[in-house]
């Protein structure tokens, strides 16, 4: 067993960045206030003091420009980690990510490589309203050529970020702002988790919850409460949407015969629809009930907390949906 330490997701991310910058001189960070200020959520706190201004660069508020520069630097021997403060601002850099980074390897017949990481923030919960609270990971996962990562624990955050930085492809790394202070045990030292390997966060036998990012905590809470009702829920965290570990999801569903997919993106045309379709398509004969989905309401995220909270799936909703799969009504 490696040495373990308890830390928050913020601390785990910072440790991953520091270790990768120490290990590889081509790794550098750029983004709005990632340097002297240490990032709006303190993820990069202290890194500029440790590594210098050339490796932890404060940029102007020019998302398209500096993301595009990340693509150019990645094409020419560097491994940039670009921060887009809120994923809502990915819209400003869409051409760089979708038309340039994602496609260069393919368009050039395999000549170009773009080892770029775009770290960004998702999720509602801070009264930040409709332009600072979205969960736009499904957009990114729709694009072949991108990898999409969404950790839910400190250990996953560290291990996946290190793998993302070492990957030769553009990786969009979604961090949930309400999960930053989630604590957990994290292996010290050079610990990586391969992209494309799901994790069973809680074993169970009656129903599978496929839960991503912020919804993993929701699923775990629901699973714990349902245990008292003699429903044993297994929680599968895909951890990466591209590549997606279909095998682990399907294996779980084949065992339990029931599935609820829960994700903080909008319900329509999103991640839950994709995963539910895979389950329906490839595990139909094992299902004892329809595959259910929970996602964010199809509304812009409102500011006032009473409305904001109502847009995001919660444990009570997940429990109610799950009881329905067993013919129970409460």
């Amino acid at each position: 067993m490696p040495d373990m330490r308890e830390m928050t997701i913020v601390e785990a991310l910072r440790e991953a960045l520091a270790e990768e910058m120490s290990r590889d001189p081509t790794v550098f960070l750029m983004g709005e206030d990632v340097g002297r200020a240490g990032g709006v959520f303190n993820v990069t706190a202290g890194l500029q003091a440790e590594f210098g201004k050339d490796r932890v660069m404060d940029t102007p508020i020019s998302e398209a420009g500096f993301t595009g520069m990340g693509v150019g630097a990645a094409l020419t021997g560097m491994r940039p980690v670009v921060e887009i403060l809120f994923c809502d601002f990915l819209t400003l850099a869409m051409d760089q990510i979708v038309n340039q980074a994602a496609k260069l390897h393919y368009m050039t017949g395999g000549q170009a490589k773009v080892p770029l990481v775009v770290r960004t923030l998702m999720g509602a919960g801070r009264g930040a309203a409709a332009q600072h609270s979205q969960s736009l990971h499904a957009w990114m996962a729709h694009v072949p050529g991108l990898k999409v990562v969404m950790p839910s624990t400190p250990a996953d955050a560290k291990g996946l970020l290190k793998s993302a930085i070492r990957d030769d492809n553009p990786v969009i790394f979604f961090e949930d702002k309400m999960s930053y202070q989630v604590k957990g045990m994290v292996p010290t030292g050079d610990f990586t988790i391969p992209l494309g390997v799901a994790d069973v966060k809680r074993p169970g036998s009656d129903v599978t919850f496929v839960a991503t990012s912020s919804m993993v905590q929701v699923a775990l809470a629901a699973a714990e409460a349902l245990a008292a009702e003699n429903i044993s829920a297994e929680v599968v965290d895909p951890r990466t949407l591209r590549p997606l570990d279909k095998a682990t999801i399907l294996e779980s569903v084949k065992k339990t015969g029931r599935a609820v997919v829960i994700d903080e993106g909008h319900l329509s045309y999103g991640v839950t629809a994709e995963i539910a379709a895979i389950i329906a398509d490839e595990a139909f004969d094992y299902l004892d009930a329809p595959v259910k989905r929970l996602g964010a309401l199809d509304v812009p995220v409102p500011m006032v907390p009473v409305l904001e909270q109502a847009t995001v799936p919660n444990a009570e909703q997940l429990m109610a949906v799950t009881r329905g799969l067993f013919g129970r009504r409460y």
Binding site: M69, G72, N99, Q111
Partner: protein, 323 residues
């Protein structure tokens, strides 16, 4: 600037080679051998040739979606480029990119681009990379008058200026953004370079049909970038002698007249430079003909290469999505 005979010969070789390549591609398009979209560079050869002559082999360029000239001027292989236009496995991108994505990463050619202004971020990022690696490389971003109106142009010039990046923005003003004239799509009481001046970049406005003028401006900008003094801007005024794409000429869409096209055809850069070389006794007729014969042989080889290179097997479709 005194330009020696070897350099003048090389200049003529580069602009003539681009012209003959484009004429070859045009011919192959009409025969159906070129299978994708095709945007020809005819009339603008002096810009790519003049700038790339000032570069080292390991410098970077980003190109436009009228990019064959830049690829060739930077030393690109005419066989691989022509095969790419024709969708053959011998092409630069195994047929997956075509005209708008031709690239030779090993030669620092970071790609033509299907997005107008798509090279701004990439070139500026390559310059940032060069600076971080202390490699002494510079990056050139070729773009058109149309791309000058993309917002990212302002973003990257600002960053290039604050970080003193070794990048040169070369605006190839070919008079048209697709089917719209420069003076209709852009404020013209000041040149495009006024935008660069606002960020403190030295700017030059040159006759883009004069390969020596373009070269001299590029030499200065490259020296500045190489010395760590930061970015520069060059506007080269030229004229697109072909339509936006094959099948377009411009008369039907009303963006130019036959008279205008005839007028600019008389000023085209390749013949003009040839005449200048002869009139000023820089190269002899025999020397020029030797250059031309060399290029004709190369074009024949390129056509033969295309004919010998198959289209990709459908099994390649999923290759290269991920590295």
């Amino acid at each position: 600037m005194e330009l020696d005979r070897a350099l003048l010969r090389e200049m003529y070789y580069r602009i003539r080679r681009i012209r003959r390549f484009e004429e070859t591609a045009e011919e192959l398009y009409k025969r159906g051998t070129v299978v994708g979209l095709l945007h020809l560079y005819i009339g603008e050869e002096a810009v790519a040739a003049g700038v790339c002559l000032a570069l080292r082999d390991d410098d970077y360029i980003t190109s436009t979606h009228r990019g064959h000239g830049h690829v060739l001027a930077k030393g690109g292989d005419s066989k691989c480029l022509l095969a790419e236009l024709c969708g053959r496995v011998g092409g630069y991108c195994r047929g997956k990119g075509g005209s708008m994505h031709a690239a030779d990463i090993g030669l620092g050619i970071l790609g033509a681009n299907g997005i107008v202004g798509g090279g701004f971020g990439i070139a500026t990022g390559a310059a940032l990379s060069a600076k971080k690696r202390n490699s002494g490389q510079v990056a050139v971003c070729f773009f058109g008058d149309g791309a000058a109106n993309q917002g990212i142009f302002m973003e990257v010039m600002n960053m290039a200026a604050i970080w003193k990046l070794p990048v040169i923005y070369v605006c190839e003003n070919n008079t048209f953004g697709q089917y719209t004239r420069y003076e209709e799509h852009t404020v013209t009481d000041r040149p495009i370079g006024a935008r660069a001046e606002a960020f403190g970049l030295p700017t030059a406005l040159v006759d883009g049909n004069d390969v020596t003028a373009v070269y001299e401006a590029a030499v200065q900008a490259v020296a500045r970038a190489r010395a760590g003094e930061g970015p520069s801007f060059i506007e080269a005024r030229t004229y697109r002698l072909r339509g936006h794409h094959m099948g377009d000429v411009g008369f039907a869409r009303g963006y130019r007249t036959r008279e205008e096209l005839e007028e600019y055809t008389r000023r085209e850069p390749v013949g003009r430079f040839r005449n200048w070389l002869l009139e000023n006794n820089k190269l002899s007729e025999a020397e020029i003909e030797a250059v031309e014969a060399e290029i004709e042989a190369e074009m024949q080889e390129a056509i033969e290469f295309v004919n010998s290179s198959p289209v990709p097997d459908v099994s390649e479709i999923l290759e290269h999505v991920y590295a």
